[in-house]
Amino acid sequence: MATISLTVNEKQHAVDVDPRTLLVELLREHLRLTGTHVGCDTSQCGACTVWVDGKSVKSCTMLAVEADGTAVTTIEGLARNGELHPMQAAFHTCHGLQCGFCTPGMVMSAADLVRRNPEPTEGDVRHWLEGNLCRCTGYHNIVRAVLAAAETLRAGQGGAR
């Protein structure tokens, strides 16, 4: 067993894990944060996407021990005081989710995109999301949601200035 300490959604955790434990297993099974999902075993589907030190990462590609000392944000940590993050809100208003299974990974990935590229084109969004599979939506409304959220975020930043 290895002892690791990390911050998840701003909460400090010290956990004993089998060294082969994946980050996603740590989140789902040890910390019971089941919003992060597992849809494949080859790091293709992106349902397990979380942020590690602010960058989107497929948590099935990373060992828990590699996350020692990092700050992890999962879908459960995205909303603030019950208020949806603009990306979550846009997925709701644009009907960017159906069964909801790919949604946490999709939202975490898309929110990272708009942080890196505040003004993405439709093509940028489609290209960025190639690591996230959705079987329900045909991506149409996901793309709309990401573009809408980017606009909301830009407007919010404009207001702050």
Binding site: T34, H37, L97, P104
Partner: protein
């Protein structure tokens, strides 16, 4: 009305828990004392099991039980049943081989479950599974249809000579021959409908719990129809009465057909839970899903269309081989027969049709319904054939369709293949789609693409499908072993809020929103006062679940029927309160009113009176306000429409990109336009995936070569365009809502439009045929072959 009734694009109320990461999927559930199960599956497509040695595995750390087919047999578990029995041409019944939950004596496909290991942790179960020694004697295997029907082919089942499960036909052979004999033109085509893996993003999972104190079983499972699973567990596999069995399908991450069926794992975790005295959970890995979820399609077809001198369709004959896999899955025999051959008239007048379908066993995972299920196969062959006829006869592809479409005044329209279409305006959807894609300016767009070095093609498909399955007596006569009605219970609470218990199941369709909209429309209560409950056999009286685009048409109709009973009862209460005769009470917008007066009682007041019956017609009306209904459909519903696609092909690389996709559907009355569009989008992605990317490929030995997302190409965001979705509504004539169904339209309508577009793009090079999926390699080879080069 609050603006949240029928026809409003109400944002989904279920979204919040999904967006917050607070949903509850089967694998999220951990029960007190939870243990984990892992399966040892066959690496061979066909083999005799000489021996199984579990001693090392049983002694491994944390292991609680190692169970084999012998244990299954010793405990008397039933085999996995098939829900449909098809009759052969000669009236005899299909071959229906046994399907033990764990292999007994032989394995018949790669992935066939052989041993179940249960341990304290998932890792321990996985480790121990590696220690199970199974001694196999490999046998010759057969995976492909054409190999399976060749003489001398290895037999999957000794009792199925030639690997034939059934040899079935539909239609009038003689009348069809007569049409072909006098036809001016006959156009023929040979097609493969590519095999698909369903790939809901949530893998299947099951968590079984036997409560010894109560002598009662609970199963959490990724199912589209928990009551059906309870029925099959109770009557056939676990063999316990329904009241001892609770099946919960909580949040389910997509189904697409693959989660309809009763799978061995559902039975085995319940049985194992009783054996080890603790809950047992199994969650499929994606690799395991490819080898154990029922696949879809996999047809090989020869079809011919007879036409007169004017290009009118006169006859159609179709010969299809349909792959069943190694065992018969729950609905498998119905898919290539009653959901395929019955649709062969499409939206067209075709005076005579004759279809022959041979279902074939192979050493592959079972094949059953995947989004569309039979109807995509019918639509694909018909629309490819119509396009080919247009080219060979020199008729415009749009005009040949327009000429042959069933006209609005021909409804109800009896096809030669058993169905009676109730209503449709197919030319209206055709025109709407053509306008949406700006068909007239296609030549300019083609020229612009050419200037960029790309070949542009236009593809069309006019289609119909049958949904809302199905009238129970009809499907019973055709071999179904279940009724296909739907059930609903509507409970009005004393303060007037409403809980609906529906037998339909939502795994992405948004029923918690759309069914609430139905209640708002019918009872006039606020949207927020309506709750929709689904997915738990302990809470919902009964149900047949969600598949075949039936939820709104059948499940919604059951809700409306129950609401009608409540409204009627409320009239009696209101008549008493308003001192009027029942015949004089009308109900509208949430109010009971004496006709022609302003004397009224709100629905809430009537509900309250029903639960606090102080001033109440107690002699003739029971207190309380709750009712149930079973709705058995009178007919199938028939959504239809027109799907148009434009592709660009890179002639150097063969890469195909869908650059335009405009569709116009008639899905009947629309409850929530936003959700209807979303359903269409998802179906289109599935259909474009089938046409260009997806194929479950077995080698000739029965090894699945596309066993992960690395090798099975799922459609990604960059593979797809923005979709243009239009609707033209004719209301279904025989259900109380007028809905027809929308979940499968994209998967059914669009694949031939894509391939027709690819062939249109390649026509100048002389390419006349291509199979799905039209991958860049296949397109490049077709281009090279047409050039006379190597391919």
């Amino acid at each position: 009305m609050s603006g949240q009734g029928m026809g409003a694009s109400v944002a989904r109320r279920e979204d919040r828990r999904f967006l917050l990461g607070k949903a509850r999927y089967t694998d999220d559930i951990v029960l007190p004392g939870q243990t984990w199960g892992v399966f040892v599956r066959s690496p061979y497509a066909h083999a005799a099991i000489r021996s199984i040695n579990v001693s090392q595995a049983a002694a491994a750390p944390g292991v609680l039980a190692v169970l084999t087919g012998d244990d299954v047999a010793a405990d008397g578990l039933g085999g996995i049943p098939c829900g449909w029995q098809i009759k052969n041409k000669d009236g005899s019944v299909m071959v229906e081989p046994p399907h033990p939950a764990l292999a007994q004596g032989k394995v018949r496909h790669a992935g066939d479950p052989v041993v179940l290991v249960i341990a304290e942790s998932k890792a321990q179960a996985r480790d121990a599974a590696q220690l199970v020694e199974v001694d196999y004697d490999p046998l010759p295997a057969v995976a492909h249809l054409t190999d399976a029907v060749a003489s001398g082919a290895p037999l999957v089942w000794d009792e199925a000579p030639g690997n034939v499960c059934f040899d079935w036909h539909l239609g009038d052979a003689e009348a069809t021959e007569a049409e072909f004999a006098k036809a001016e033109h006959v156009v023929g085509i040979d097609l493969v409908n590519n095999r698909l893996a369903p790939n809901a993003i949530e893998p299947r999972a099951a968590n079984g719990h036997y409560d010894a104190a109560e002598d009662r079983y609970t199963l959490y499972t990724t199912s589209q129809n928990p009551h059906l699973i309870r029925l099959l567990l109770g009557a056939f596999t676990l063999k316990v009465p329904e009241h001892k069995l609770r099946v919960v399908a909580p949040d389910v991450g997509g189904g697409f057909g693959s989660k309809i069926f009763h799978y061995a794992e559902e039975l085995l975790v319940l049985w194992a839970s009783k054996r080890v005295g603790r809950p047992v959970k199994w969650t499929s890995s994606r690799s395991e899903a490819f080898l154990s979820d029922a696949h879809g399609r996999d047809h090989v077809t020869h079809a011919e269309l007879a036409l007169d001198a004017d290009g009118r369709f006169r006859g159609l004959r179709v010969r299809t081989l349909a792959n069943m896999g190694a065992y018969l899955s729950t609905f498998a025999p119905a898919i290539p027969t009653y959901l395929h051959a019955t649709l062969l008239s499409g939206p067209y007048v075709i005076p005579a049709i004759y279809a022959e379908v041979k279902a074939i066993f192979t050493n592959t995972v079972p094949v059953d319904a995947v989004r569309g299920a039979g109807r995509p196969e019918a639509t694909y062959l018909l629309e490819r054939l119509v396009d080919k006829a247009a080219r060979e006869l020199g008729i415009d592809r749009v005009e040949i369709r327009r000429k042959n479409l069933i006209k609005p005044d021909q409804f109800p329209y009896q096809t030669p293949v058993a169905l009676e279409y109730d209503i449709g305006e197919y030319e209206a959807t055709l025109d709407l789609a053509l306008k949406a894609i700006d068909y007239e300016r296609f030549p300019q767009r083609r020229a612009a693409s050419e200037a960029r070095g790309k070949l542009r093609g236009f593809g069309i498909s006019t289609y119909i499908e049958a949904c809302g399955i199905a009238p129970s007596a009809l499907v019973g006569a055709l071999g179904a072993r279940a009724g296909l009605y739907e059930a609903a219970s509507v409970r009005v609470h004393p303060t007037g809020s409403v809980t609906v218990f529906t037998g339909a199941h939502s795994h992405g369709q948004g029923h918690e929103t759309t069914f609430a909209q139905l209640v708002v429309e019918k009872l006039g209560v606020p949207f927020d006062n309506v709750e929709i409950v689904h997915g738990d056999t302990d809470r919902i009286p009964f149900g047949m679940g969600t598949y075949g685009s039936r939820s709104a048409a059948v499940g919604g109709s059951a809700i409306v029927k129950a609401i009608d009973k409540i409204v009627d009862k409320g009239k009696k209460v209101a008549a008493h309160l308003l001192e009027a005769s029942v015949a004089d009470i009308e109900f509208a917008d949430g109010k009971y009113r004496v006709v022609g007066t302003d004397r009224e009682k709100s629905f809430g007041e009537v509900a309250f009176a029903a639960y606090v019956p102080h001033n109440y017609p107690i002699e003739s009306v029971e207190p309380g306000l709750e009712d149930s209904a079973f709705y058995d459909p009178k007919n199938f519903t028939f959504p239809g429409g027109c799907h148009l696609v434009e592709v660009e092909v890179d002639p150097e690389t063969g890469v195909v990109q869908v650059v335009e996709c405009a569709i116009a559907d008639d899905v009947g009355t629309i409850i929530n336009p936003m959700i209807v569009d979303g359903q269409a989008h998802g179906g289109l992605a599935h259909g474009i995936g089938q046409a260009l990317l997806e194929e479950a490929v077995y080698d000739s030995e029965g090894q699945l070569l596309t066993g992960s997302f690395m090798s099975y190409c799922m459609p990604r965001a960059a593979d797809l365009p923005m979709f243009k979705v239009g609707n033209h509504v004719t209301a279904c004539t025989h259900n109380p809502i007028g809905v027809k169904g929308v979940g499968e339209v994209g998967a059914i309508g669009v694949p031939p439009a894509v391939i027709n577009a690819v062939l249109d793009a390649l026509a100048p090079l002389g390419v006349t045929h291509i199979e799905m999926p039209a991958t860049s390699e296949k397109v490049w080879r077709a281009i090279q072959a047409a050039k006379g080069g190597v391919a």
